[in-house]
Amino acid sequence: MMRYIKLVNFELGRFLKIYLVLVGLTLVLQLLGVFLEANGYLGEVEELVVNGNLTQEQFLHDYGYFSFNDVSRSGWFIVPILFCILTLMIYVFFIWYRDWVGKNTFAYRLLMLPTARINVFYAKATAIFLMVLGLVSLQLVYLPIENSVLRMMVPSDFRIDMTVDQILNGFDNLRVIFPTSLIQFIINYGIGFTAVFVLFTAILFERSFRWKGIILGLIFGAVAVVVFISPILVQAFVLPEFFYPMELFILVVITGLIVLAGTIWTSNFLLNKKIRV
């Protein structure tokens, strides 16, 4: 257990620099977004209301109020989030390959630690989860900060104040990352983390059998997906509308746990019996 915790801390440390860049870049770009979007809006106010002949009421009727939605739907806001997602998705692979590739093959060291090898697997997974949840949490901290910058810039006559909840609900596609209900959050991230486990296992297949392993990994991934959604497939093709929603939910939770257990068992097997340095 102690060695697992040490490994998690170690894995976090190995990515810390890039992670801090992500954390900082997101805040900077999003604040810049608040600044530029608000300035653009205020520029129009200046031009049309102060210097032009529109009344404030006409302006608001034509151009609408300024709200955080104007910021959160701009590239300044979304691109850093997408960049973080992309970086972590790449790191899901790199967290393994960096130990095998290059002349300093750290994989030797990790596999020779006097602890169950599956702990290396758990530690890498935990590090990914913590980094994902960390970014999500920090975004939730950034939002009120960005919101108050917006409030400082745009006079209250021209803006609609939004709570963090309202901002998140205006996210559309990004809502999957920021669910506003706890259960939805657990479901989304449960599926996401199970997917990371499945990917890890596929990577271990590749690391164990190289070229042949890629095919085995793909098959493993496909089987995992089919098992996971099998209740839905049964519902759709074998017994139409047989299960009630709650039953289907429970069945999918069960198949999800089966997939999770399957990935752990398979990874444990590969790490102990098939892995190559």
Binding site: N9, Y65, V136, T163, D172
Partner: protein, 429 residues
């Protein structure tokens, strides 16, 4: 162990735990982001609307924010604000089907969500539907058969059987209108289209099954009509079951409307800029008749409509729902300004009641109409220019307006003032 060396792990864990806990606690305590619609009484007694439940959608015009709502005299609830499991269970808009699913969980498995296919009384829950199989090598695409299931409430037994429909070689479409059980006989009211040479024959048939022996024992043709095309004019016949299709209890008398209409292609020209033929089709109703069919006796009677009603039925857009309760079958007829409700005695089939409501005067333009307990309920189906929706309750026996109210947002915020509201279902308990 030197705690300081674990600062990476400890700090990231601390951020996650603190932020996420705060966030979820806060959002569970946060005020609703949706407006609270309330039913504000203008005149009349509030008790008149205590049994109304309205379903609809609210949307904000300057954003994509929208929500499905359930509105009663108590206030508004939103689908989006239900818990995950409440939403999963799909009981926001309870129906007879969801009630049957709760009470007869296994019987209702794999059965569709269409109340017209079900019947329930004190003894049984019955289900009948048309299923089909691909029929190869003919122009008629499918072989139809009845899929029937009857749950006996006394014994908790389910009997289910499938029966092929005899003589269906030229049937090309079938559809179930209603299911009833009369004296141990399952009656399935079915719409059938079949081809007879160039003409298309359309019949409304009642198939009778003996539940005990699981056999088809009768096949009554109730109404027939013809569809044919000549010289660009298409003649059609359609049948409408006026009884409330969502009602699954005993309805021995079926009120049926036969409508004959023509479709004329009056314009066909080539659009020069796009090279596309544009057709303008004109629909015209040529005849509408209302019949009453008694499922117990298999007797068919044409409903004696007064000349005034008959003209009106033929010339106005007809609201296809009749409201049938223990005493009366009600029809409602709309003109620009007025709503007329006519009530026929179910036993004697004579016109016993007629009330007209001046809609223009009541400030209502396009209401959803419901009739129950000799009251008519009118609810504007969508928000028009003003920021309120009218709700009217009228007494059909006296013609009096019992209640007048409007749906408004309670303490709207700045952004909530610019909104849309659509009410698509009104339920009277």
């Amino acid at each position: 162990m030197n705690i300081k060396r674990y600062w990476k792990l400890i700090s990231i864990l601390a951020v996650i735990v603190v932020v996420l806990t705060t966030y979820f606690i806060q959002s569970s305590l946060a005020a609703s982001r949706y407006p609270n619609f309330v039913l504000k009484t203008i005149s009349g007694d509030k008790s008149e609307v205590e049994n109304i439940t309205m379903y609809g959608e609210y949307y904000q015009l300057d954003s994509t924010s929208s929500g499905y709502l359930r509105l009663t005299s108590e206030g508004t609830e939103y689908l989006q604000e239900q818990s995950y499991f409440e939403r999963l269970n799909n009981k926001f808009e309870p129906s007879e089907i969801t009630r049957l699913q709760d009470e007869y969980r296994n019987f209702m498995r794999s059965k569709p969500d269409l109340p017209a296919l079900y019947f329930e009384d004190d003894n049984v829950v019955a289900y009948a539907n048309l299923e089909s199989e691909e029929r190869w090598g003919t122009i008629y695409p499918e072989d139809y058969y009845f899929d029937i299931a009857v749950f006996d409430k006394k014994t908790n037994d389910t009997s289910s059987f499938e029966i092929e429909i005899p003589g269906q070689k030229d049937y090309w479409y079938m559809n179930v209108y209603d299911v009833q059980v009369v004296d141990g006989m399952l009656k399935v009211v079915t719409d059938v289209f079949h081809q007879d040479g160039e003409t298309e024959e359309h019949t409304l048939s009642v198939y009778t099954f003996d539940i005990a022996t699981q056999k088809l024992v009768g096949d009554e043709t109730v109404l027939t009509g013809i569809g044919e095309e000549s010289e660009g004019v298409m003649k059609r016949t359609s049948f409408t079951l006026l009884n409330d299709a969502d009602f699954i209890g005993i309805q021995t008398n079926l009120f049926l409307m036969k409508e004959e209409s023509t479709e004329t292609i009056i314009q066909s020209k080539e659009n020069e800029s796009t090279d596309v033929d544009t057709e303008v089709i004109e629909d015209q109703v040529t005849n509408r008749q209302v019949y009453v069919y008694n499922l117990a006796t298999n007797e068919m009677t044409e409903l004696a409509l007064s000349d005034e009603i008959k003209t009106q039925i033929e010339n106005t857009p007809f609201n296809s729902t009749a409201f049938i309760d223990e005493e009366y079958a009600y029809f409602n007829l709309r003109t620009e300004e007025n709503l007329t409700v006519v009530g026929y005695n179910i036993e004697t089939l004579t016109e016993e009641m007629k009330q007209t409501f001046d809609l223009a005067n009541l400030g209502i333009t396009n209401p959803t109409i419901r009739i129950k307990n000799n009251n008519v309920y009118l609810v504007e189906s969508q928000l028009e220019d003003e920021n309120s929706v009218e709700v009217i309750v009228g007494d059909l026996l006296t013609g009096d307006i019992l209640y007048e109210g409007e749906i408004v947002i309670e303490n709207p915020t700045k952004e909530q003032k610019n909104y849309g509201l659509q009410l698509y279902e009104i339920e009277i308990k």
